[in-house]
Symmetry: C2
Subunit: 124 residues, 2 copies
Amino acid sequence: MTRQREVILRELRKLTSHPTADELYLLVREHLPRISLGTIYRNLEELSAAGLIQKVEFGGGQRRFDGDITDHWHVKCTDCGRIADVSPDPESTAQVSLGSFRTEFELTGYRLELMGTCPACQQA
Amino acid sequence: MTRQREVILRELRKLTSHPTADELYLLVREHLPRISLGTIYRNLEELSAAGLIQKVEFGGGQRRFDGDITDHWHVKCTDCGRIADVSPDPESTAQVSLGSFRTEFELTGYRLELMGTCPACQQA
DNA sequence: ATCGGTGCAAAGGTTTTGCAGGCGG
DNA sequence: CCGCCTGCAAAACCTTTGCACCGAT
């Protein structure tokens, strides 16, 4: 755990905004002005592999990262692109059960991405 | 509906392999040798906007396209990367119901991507 | 002294776009 | 004749990688 990795993890955990590598780069640079974008990417990859953070890969856009590794889903606003968390209550976690799909694949996981309109865009 | 668009749509509908733009480019070029990759992308975008085809955007990889627009999901093999269809039977469609998520977003849709091991990779 | 991690810069791969020309209406 | 669509090429964009250097063990 280098200084760089430590700061990246700390800054990411401060946020609930699911930043891109580039957005995080700008934030981390305030603490480590000489850090490079390559280092950001390398460490985000490491942290993700170590299970300390989560990659959020909505199709079409660029990769985003989430410091919250508790079980939850994401919803993306189709108007402004903002991504928010959706907490998994007992009712909704029960909804996706890998056992009940008809396929010859041996299922190991899934990604559920919700789409909708955020409160701000609903008013506009 | 130009000749180019027509051929692209026809070739895509022939396949169940969820090709990338580039893979489709190679196929379409056998019929229209002078077509450009830019035209492929432009038309796939148009066709998708018109609801005639479907974009399949698994996170992390490159964009894929599906000529089958009936309601179904996709499963990606985590070993070989192959993408297959999962037919939605009455049992599994009932599993995802937008009404039961706890969020302030007004939900309009979702994307469910399954991950697993395909029959071929299970043996290997 | 060694080794992993870093900064920097360049490369890489995919997708988008500007532009002039062509085709159909 | 007009306007849309094309082919071509360049640009744009995000991410990865090679390399020399540094810092800590």
